[in-house]
């Protein structure tokens, strides 16, 4: 019964799997660039999930063409709006993370966050 549920909702399962992959990369990787890639995978997984939830089989994108105004003709537009907003947020935090990474790399010539921390401790600022 549960396995059948999983098979029916395999798209959602994939989204969750991606989320976990991204989350653990962001948390566990030492390399900053890999962390940022993890961040993007994690956010993309959420957008995939949202897009899935907005999709209704057999309906079209919610743009009125040929004067069809019936609600039954279109998919739910709100999740798409949320995805767009989310993408904007995700782009800005990625940009900020990359900028921080450049700063750190210029100073310490490494992308390994743990090594940077050890060196800071040695500097004993």
């Amino acid at each position: 019964m549960n396995l059948a549920n999983l098979a029916n909702n395999y798209e959602e399962a994939v989204a969750m799997l991606l989320f976990v992959i991204g989350f653990s990369n962001l948390l566990l990787q030492k390399n900053l660039i890999r962390k940022i890639i993890g961040l993007n995978i994690m956010d993309t997984a959420v957008y995939l999930f949202l897009a899935l939830k907005g999709y209704i089989e057999g309906r079209k994108a919610p743009i009125v063409v040929d004067g069809v105004q019936s609600m039954e003709a279109y998919v739910n537009p709100i999740p798409s709006g949320l995805v767009l907003t989310g993408i904007v947020v995700s782009v800005s935090v990625s940009a900020l993370m990359l900028a921080l990474t450049i700063r750190l790399y210029r100073r310490y010539h490494t992308l390994d966050l743990d090594e940077i921390t050890t060196r800071l401790k040695k500097e004993g600022l």
Binding site: K53, L96, M97, L113, L125
Partner: protein, 503 residues
């Protein structure tokens, strides 16, 4: 509709648009704009608070003329207005208190960028306080994170950049979980406005449908916000971020930024899910356990720390633990105690940061514990202020910290026995540990220093007139602390009233 009801909307927009404005004007002008904006927002919040107390009910303000469930809303009650007013006061005092440090530590020509960040931070805090839409809350959570990151790294050295990176990583993990929780909730209920979600969640809870997804959602959102507000095991970035950033950043970050997230969590508990459902879900027990551990471990780390500013930062970890323990008790009394502690901690922690910087000014800018010997004599006002802050943290009567400890203890006594004992023991232990490191520092700053040593190191005396702005800030902070401690009754009544209107 009265004109005053527009003020929450005005204050969000005013601070939001003054951000970009500050990026195109010079540093001095930006500073004036910033102080003016904080003052204006504070005045408007006071007017709103007055209005909501008189009317005795919360009101909903439509953003754009679409009614629920389509449009975006803000919702204003006593609690929201009180928080907004308080946040403005603390931010204003922190900005004045740190003006001297900002002039020294921020790179030439970049001062105005600092005020961009502060204005955006204020607007995101206000939006988190007022909004009634879950996705708007998420967006402003991210704005809050980004501007807080800017505040940390405006003083450029290896430590702050590393701290900012760690802060961003932890925050992004937290907001990822929060976003996923919001998406689940939207999926189950089909709404984004908090009040509408609550109706649907009540129905789901009554029928028992989606029991496990609902549980997962509540845990995702709670854990996400707990990570962002540096609850105990997620605090690794905190000491560096607070310890090495410029003074006003440290004061604002410790007293306001984490509190904004916690306020959002209260909102999720009361307005989105319903507190009885949260309590039944047992997630509060997890928060309780982490809060209790944090209360002890934060203080233990603070005792081991030899750098005064990092010590105060570690003490924040313990205080965040208190706040989560209050939620974890799972009664309204516990939440009121936590809300009071938000106010009390904000007033005290920023006081301690400013006072500690006054003491280090009189010790050749060294933050080392032993260099502070006798600093209380070299900078008298800062010494008194630090003592007041320490006594308040320890829970000495008259000061605000005492009242919050009292409220926590009362809430614990009225709760289930398996929570009462751990809570009371943790309170007692944590108080002793607090006393160990704060009183140790107070004794240290009032231990007369060796004259030769002072002369050799060139420590100078700092008088009140040397640092006018900082002295004004310190006096106001002390007054705020005493006011919270001595007239706690009306404040607690307002919090209780506000929490009733909140749901």
């Amino acid at each position: 509709m009265e004109f005053v009801q527009n003020f929450p909307f005005f204050s969000i927009l005013l601070s939001l648009f003054s951000g970009p404005l500050c990026s195109v004007i010079g540093g001095k002008a930006a500073r004036r704009v910033n102080l003016a904006v904080i003052t204006a927002v504070g005045a408007m919040s006071a007017a709103v608070l007055n209005f909501t107390i008189r009317s005795g009910e919360a009101y909903v303000y439509l953003m754009g003329h679409f009614p629920a469930p389509w449009g975006n809303e803000i919702r204003v009650g006593v609690l929201e207005a009180l928080m907004a007013l308080f946040f403005c006061v603390v931010m204003f005092l922190s900005m004045i208190g740190g003006s001297l440090e900002r002039a020294l530590e921020i790179e030439e020509g970049k001062e105005n960028l600092y005020y961009v960040m502060v204005n955006l931070l204020l607007s995101s805090l206000l939006a988190l306080i007022y909004t009634n839409d879950l996705f708007t809350a998420y967006v402003f959570v991210e704005i809050n994170t980004i501007s807080a990151c800017g505040l940390i790294m405006i003083r450029q050295n290896g430590r702050t950049i590393e701290a900012a990176t760690r802060y961003m990583i932890m925050s992004l993990l937290g907001s990822g979980l929060l976003l996923l929780g919001i998406c689940f909730l939207y999926d189950m209920t089909g709404h984004l406005l908090m009040s509408n979600i609550k109706e649907q969640v009540q129905i789901l809870h009554a029928t028992g449908d989606y029991h496990i997804p609902l549980l997962v959602t509540v845990s995702l959102m709670s854990v996400g916000i707990a990570i962002k507000s540096a609850l105990y095991p997620f605090h690794a970035w905190l000491p560096d971020a607070y310890g090495y950033s410029t003074l006003s950043s440290a004061a604002i970050l410790s007293s306001l930024v984490s509190k904004g997230y916690i306020f959002l969590l209260v909102k999720i508990f009361y307005r989105v899910i319903g507190f009885d459902i949260v309590r039944d879900s047992k997630i509060v027990n997890v928060l309780f356990a982490f809060g209790v551990v944090g209360m002890i471990m934060g203080s233990v780390s603070a005792i081991k720390e030899g750098n005064v500013r990092r010590m105060i930062a570690y003490s924040s970890v313990a205080q965040i633990g208190y706040i989560y323990m209050g939620f974890g008790i799972g009664t309204t009394a516990g939440v009121i105690a936590s809300l009071y502690h938000i106010l009390s901690h904000a007033a005290t922690k920023s006081l301690l940061f400013v006072a500690a910087s006054g003491l280090t000014d009189a010790s050749g800018d060294s933050t080392s514990f032993f260099d502070l010997t006798g600093a209380g004599y070299r900078n008298k006002l800062a010494g008194v202020a630090f003592t007041v802050g320490s006594l308040s943290m320890v829970g000495f009567p008259m000061f605000s910290g005492f009242i919050s400890k009292l409220l926590f203890a009362q809430a614990a006594v009225d709760s289930a026995y398996y929570k009462m004992l751990p809570a009371l023991i943790a309170l007692a232990l944590s108080t002793i540990l607090n006393a160990v490191y704060f009183m140790k520092t107070v004794i240290r700053i009032y231990t007369p220093a060796d004259r030769e040593e002072v002369k050799r190191r060139g420590f100078r005396n700092v008088t009140v007139t040397d640092q006018k702005a900082k002295s004004v800030a310190l006096v106001c902070f002390i007054a705020l602390n005493l006011a919270l401690g001595l007239s706690s009754e009306p404040v607690v009544r307002l919090l209780r009233e506000g929490l009733n209107l909140f749901a």
